[in-house]
Symmetry: D3
Subunit: 286 residues, 6 copies
C-alpha cells in the first residue's frame, strides 16, 4: 500500500535529533573531520539491498537535513512502497562530510522501520481476500512507538490504541483483579467518554458470552485456534469487532483470517522484525 | 557471563521515564483506573517464557519504581544470567494498579535487551576456545545504544567504540573520499589525542599491507571468508588487532574464529535480534 | 462527585516543577530568604474562600513537596469534593520558608482547576435527571489540557477525545475541504483502526440524514436550539451518540438536556471558568 | 494602546511547540490526514467574533509556522489593537491541512491572551484621567506567566515583578513570620542589591506609618476602600509608590483611582478573564 | 561573611545532573566499574588545598547524592566560610565507587565557585570601612549565572540585576542608538513598572548632569578614576546610587571606595577568577 | 594553529540557546525594547581588545542568529587564529535591537573560550621543537566541556579522553582501592573493548616499572620534576605514551618538554584561564 499520511515533522524531528546526538557524542565525527575534505560533494542513492516494504523515509531525510541544511533529497519510494533488491529509495546530494556523518543514523531509522513494514506486509498478504486487518500491539521498542505504528500502517496494517490512555482494553489481569468479566466491563463503562471504545480479552466461549451480554465494542480472542475462532465469530455475530491474538506467525494467518475475525494482532511485528538491509551507493565530486 | 557492571541509574532512568510517558499518554491508564481496585496488592514474578540470557533488569525495575515508590523488587537473575524457560527473573511486590500500569513498559525493555544478550551469547558460544571476542557495531536502535551495548556485554561480548567521537574508524567511504588508505590514515593521525585508537577498514590484502605500513591500532577485515581472514591474520602478525566483519551468522562464527581474528563484529545482534519472551506470573491479595 | 482516579504523578510533576521554576526565577524567593527565619515551622490549612468543587489537590501537594521533602500534608477534600466557603481542603505542616515560597504556585493550580470543576458541576446539576453528560472540548489552556480534563471529571463531567490523534472528529471545515459529509466519512473510515470512533459535525437535518446513512459513532449537533435538537435526536433514534454543542450556558442546559441528547459539550468550562478563591490560613511555631 | 514590544521568539516558541505536541499527541491529526486533500490550499482570516483588545498574535503565527514553514501570514491587528466584532486580525495563506491542524492551538493562545488584554483595557479605561496604572499579580496561569504579563501590557497595563526573585515584596505572612513590619524591612534591606526595589504590604495606617519610617520603595495597601486609600496616599505624600490591591472590580476602579494611588493591581485579570472569542473564516482553493 | 541563604535545590540540581551526565557519557565510569570493588566504602573529606572563601557546597553535595542516594555528607564550612589551606570543608561517607565517579564533578563546581567567592572577598576586604559594596556584572560563564551570582554573595558581594529582564540598564550603546541620555531615559520611563529600577551609564560629568536632571535610580560611572569619581559622587549628592565600573583590580579598590561610591562592580570576578584548589583526602574500608 | 574542524552545530546550538534564555529571563531585554528604535540597523565588528588566540566564533555567531535570522555575519578570524589587540574578529550586520540583546551572550562565549585557547597556545609555544603535545584534563567548567576541549584544540593542543566512558584512566584512588597497580591494570584489561586505551597514573619509578610490566597504552607521570621525568621516559623507552601532569605552569613547560615526554597535561588551562577581552565596535544606521 502506498501513499500513507506522513507523521508530523514536529513529532519525528526530536527523535532523530536525539539519535544524531547519541552518535555524535561530545566531540562529533572525529574520523570524518580528520579524513574527508570539507569541499567534497556527494551525489548518490540510498538503495535497498533486499526486497521489502519501505517506512521511515521522513526520519532518514531529517537525519541528513539536521546535519546540513543544504541537502537536496528526493524520495523515490515513499513509505508504503514495495521495493526490489537494488532499487534506489532516495537520491541524496550534499556535502560529503555531512553524508558520512548522518549516514548511520539515517540508515538505522529506515532499516528498522522498513523491517517492520516488510513483515506487516507479509501478514497482510497472508490475509488474501478475507476481511481481516493486521494490527500491532503495545509491544513496541521503547520511545519509538509513534514511528513503529506508522511503519505498521506503511505495511498495510491499521492502528490499535496508541497507549494506556486512548481506549479501554480489559485484559486477563484486569479481569482477575476486578473479580470477573462482568464487573470489569461495568466498572469500565461507568464514567466513560463517548469517544472511547471498550475491548475485553476472553480466553473461553463462556467468557465471550459474558462479555457479549454486557456489550462491548470489541473482543480480543486470546490464543484460540482457527476452529475455536470460527465458533467465537459465529457467537459474536456482528455485535462487536473480533480480534485474534497470541503469537500468530505468517504461516497461521490464512487459516486465522478464514475464521472470519475482523482483526489479527501480532506483537512480534514490532518487537522482533529483522531490519531491512539498506545502504548508501555513492559517487563523489570534489 | 554473570555479574557485569550496571549502567548508572542517571543514564537509564530518563529513558525509562520517557517510555512510561509514551504509554501513559495524556490521561494515564484509564482501564486500570476504572477496573482495578486501588487497595489490591500484587505479589508475583517476572518469568522467562523461553531460555536465554538476561539483560535489562535495571530498566525493568526502574519502570515499576517510577510508577510507585513502594515496590519491593528483588532481582533473582541479574544481567548476564542464563535462564531456562519458566525460570523467575525477579520477584515483584506492590500495588496491583501500579503493576498492571508498568508491566508492558518493563517487559518491553527486558525482552528487547535480553533478546540481544541471548543472540550475543550464542555467538560467544560459537567461538569456543578461540581467542576471538564478539562485539556489536553502531547499527543500533535509535536512542537505545547505551542499553543495547550493555546487553551485548551481558551476553559476553565486549564494546566497540560508542559513537562517532570516541575512536577513529576509517571506513571504505572515508578511504574513497580521502583518496586512499595511506592519505586517510595520515590525516587521521595528525592532531590525534593519545587516548584515541585508529582502526581502518580494508577489503583486500593489498589494502591491508598499505594499512600495516602506515601503522594502526586495529584493522577491520570486511566481508572476508575464513581463508582470506587466515591470510590476513598472518600478515598482520600481531602488529594490530584484527576484526572480522560483514553479515556473520551464528553458523559461520566457529570457522571465522578459527582464522585467528581478535574480534568478530556483527550488526544484526543489535538491529535484528528477536525479543526474548518474558511475562508476569501473578498472584493477588486484596 | 467524589473519588475520581488521580492523574499519574509522572504526568503532573513536570508541570508543577516548571511552574515553580517560573516563579523562583534565577535567584529564588529573595524576600523569604531575607525575612523569614529558617527555623520557623508552619502548621495551617488551605481553605476555600468561596463554595465550589475541588480539583488539583495533587498538583498543590506536589508544589509544596518539591520545595521541601519534609512536608506532612493531608488532603481533607479530594478532587471532586464539594466544599463550603471557609472549609479546609488540606492540612499542611512544614518549614515556614518553604510554605511561603510554594504557596502561590500551589494556589494557582488548585484555584484554576477548582474553577473548572465548579462550573462543570453547575452544568451537571442543570442536567438533573436527564441522561445527558457534560464534556469539554479542545478549547483548553495551552499545556494544561491533561489537568483541565481531569478537573472536568472532578466536576462530574466525562472526557471527550484528548487531542487530534485519539478519535476522528469531522468538523465543518473538514466537510468543506472534503467536498461533503459523505466523502468525508468514507475517507475517514478507510484504514481506520478498530478502537477509534468517528464523530461528525452537522448543522442541519439534511446533513444529519447524510451522516446517519453513512454510519458513524457520534454526531455533533452544532448550534441547534432545543426544538431542533429534539428532532435530531428523534431522527438519530439510537443509531449514534448525539452531542449538543455551541456556546451553551448554564441557563440553557436544562432545556437542552430535555431534548434527549447524550452529550452536552462546552468549551467555556475550560477556557473561561473563573478561578475558585482559595487561600492559606496559617499558624506558626518558631 | 498599540505597538508594544513583542516578546522574544526564543521565549514564545517552546511554549507554542509544546502546545502543538499536546494536541498532536502520538499519531498527529488523524482526521485531517484522512479527510482533507493534501493539495488543498487555504486563504482566509482570523477574525474577532466579539470586540476586545488583541494579544498573542505572535504565538498564533508561530503555531501555524511550526506546522508548515510555507505559511504567508500578515498580522493586521498587532498586540494592543482594539478590534470590533467581525474585524479580521490576521490574514493566513497556506496548505489547508496545516491550517486545520494548527487552528485550535493558535486560537487557544490568542483567545486566552486577548481575553486578558481586554479586561485589562477595561480597567485602564476606568482610570480615566487619574494617574493610576493597572498591573497584574503573580496569580497567573501556571507556565504562561510571560505571555500573560505581555497580554496585560497589550491591554495598557504595566508590569509588576515577574516572580519571587526580581523584587522584594513583604506580604502579611512575611510580616507575621518576621515579627513585625520593621524587623521585616530591616532584614530585607541588609544585603540588598542596588537594582532591587522593596515593597511592603500594610493593612492599617499604623502599619503604614511603621513602613514609612523604615523607608521603602512602594507600599501595597491591601483591601482598603477609597476613603482609607485617600488617607494613606496623603500619609505617604510621595515618599513611596502606593499600590491598591484586593479584589478590585471594574466598577470600583474609578473611585479607587480617584484616591490618588499610583498603582491598582488585580489578580483576576490573569486568573479569571474570560477568553475573547476569535475564529477562522476561510476560503479554499484546490 | 557566612550563612548566606542557599539557592533552591530545584534550581541547582538540574545543572549538577547535566554536568554528571557530561562526564558519565554513554557508558558510565568504565575505569571505576572495572577496577574498584563494589563493596568498598569510603570515609574521607573534601579539603581546601589553598586558603580562600567557600561557595558551591550544595552543588558538590548534590553531585555525590545524585550518583548514590546513601551518602552521608556533612558540610563543615558552609558557603561564605573562610578556610585555611588543609582545612576540611565537608565529610563524606559512602560507597567508594560512587565517590570516585562523582569526585571530579563535585570538585569542578566547588573549585570554580569558591574561586569566585575568594576574589570577591578580596575586593570586599579592600573596601575596608567605606560604604561601597562589591557586585558582579552579566559577564558570567554561560549557563552558570545563578551559581556564580550566589558565589559572589558568598564572598560578601551583593547582587546586580540578574539578566536583561529585571532592571533597566541604559548603556553607552543604548544612549547612542536612542540619540542621547535624555531621550533614552524618557523612553525607558514610559510604561515602566513600579518595581523596576533604572540605571544609566555615563562617561562624563556632562552626561551625569543630564542623567540627574532626568532622574534615575542609579548611575554607572564608567572608567572614571578616583578623582573624577569623587566629583561625580559630589554632584550626585544622594539623588541616586553611584556605581563605579571598568576593569577594577583589587589594588584599585581602596582608592575607588574612598571616592564615596555606593557600588563597585567588576566583571572579572566571575569571568576570570582562578579556581580555588580543593581535593579529596580519603580513607577506605572494604 | 588555524583551520581546526568546527564542532557540529547540533552540539553547540542548545548550549547557546540556553545561555540566551538565561539572560533574556522571562520578559526579554526590557531596556532595548524601550530605548532602541526598532528600525535601527547595526554595522560593526567584534574586536579583540588584547592579543590572543581565538576560539568560539561559532557560538558567538549562533548567539546573534538565534536572536534574529536576518544577520549577515562574516568571520574574519576563525578558531585557532592569532590576533593582535584591536584586530576585528567578525563583521556583523543586522538589526540594532538584536545586536544589543545578543552582544553579552556572544561575548561571554568567545571571551571565555578564547581565554582558554590563548593560554593553551602559550604552553604550546613553550614546547618549542620538542615533541610534547599539550592537552587538558576533566577539570573543566560544568556543562561546557565540549566547547572548552574545542578551545584547547584551537590553541594547538590535542584532546584527552572526553569523560569517564571513553578511555581507562587508572588514578591514584583507583590504585589504592584496587590494591595496587598490577591488580588494577589486570582488572581493567579483562573485558576491555579493542578500541579503548588504558592509561595508569604513577607517582614513583617503582610504580612505573610495575605498570610497564603489565603493559599499558599510556602512563601519567604525576607531579614529577624534569629530572625524574627524564628517568621515567628512559625507562618507558617507547613502550607506552608518557604524560607529565601536576600544576604545570607556562614557565615550567620548556624544561618538562625537554624531558622527552609525549604529553603535557594541565588542568588550569580550562578551569583558571582568564577571559580574553573582546568587544563590539559599532556603527549605526537608522
Amino acid at each position: 500500500m502506498s501513499d500513507i499520511a506522513p507523521l508530523p515533522t514536529l513529532l519525528v524531528e526530536p527523535i532523530v535529533r536525539a539519535a544524531l546526538l547519541e552518535d555524535l557524542g561530545r566531540a562529533g565525527d572525529i574520523t570524518t573531520a580528520a579524513v574527508v575534505p570539507r569541499e567534497a560533494r556527494f551525489f548518490g542513492a540510498m538503495v535497498a539491498r533486499r526486497p521489502g516494504t519501505i517506512a521511515g523515509t521522513a526520519a532518514a531525510r531529517i537525519a541528513f537535513e539536521l546535519v546540513d541544511h543544504s541537502f537536496e533529497i528526493s524520495v523515490l519510494q515513499p513509505d508504503g512502497s514495495v521495493v526490489a533488491a537494488g532499487q534506489p529509495v532516495m537520491h541524496i546530494k550534499g556535502p560529503a562530510q555531512a553524508v558520512v556523518t548522518a549516514e548511520r543514523t539515517a540508515l538505522n531509522f529506515i532499516s528498522h522501520l522498513s523491517g517492520i513494514a516488510t513483515v506487516t506486509a507479509e501478514l497482510v498478504a497472508g490475509v488474501g481476500n478475507y476481511k481481516a486487518r493486521i494490527t500491532c500491539t503495545r509491544k513496541t521498542t521503547p520511545n519509538l512507538r509513534a514511528l513503529e505504528k506508522h511503519a505498521v500502517r506503511a505495511g498495510g496494517g491499521v492502528s490499535h490504541r496508541f497507549g494506556l490512555d486512548d481506549g479501554i482494553l480489559i485484559k486477563d489481569n484486569h479481569v482477575a483483579l476486578a473479580g470477573g468479566i462482568s464487573p470489569a466491563i461495568r466498572s469500565a463503562k461507568s464514567g466513560l467518554g463517548h469517544m472511547v471504545k471498550i475491548e475485553v480479552e476472553v480466553d473461553t466461549l463462556e467468557q465471550l458470552e459474558e462479555a457479549l451480554n454486557e456489550g462491548v465494542d470489541a473482543i480480543l480472542l486470546d490464543n484460540m485456534g482457527p476452529d475455536l475462532l470460527r465458533k467465537a465469530v459465529a457467537m459474536i455475530d456482528g455485535r462487536a469487532m473480533s480480534e485474534a491474538s497470541g503469537r500468530i506467525t505468517a504461516d497461521q494467518v490464512p487459516a486465522i483470517a478464514a475464521s472470519g475475525v475482523d482483526i489479527i494482532s501480532a506483537g512480534w511485528i514490532t518487537h522482533s522484525a529483522p531490519a531491512l538491509d539498506l545502504g548508501l551507493d555513492f559517487g563523489v565530486t570534489r
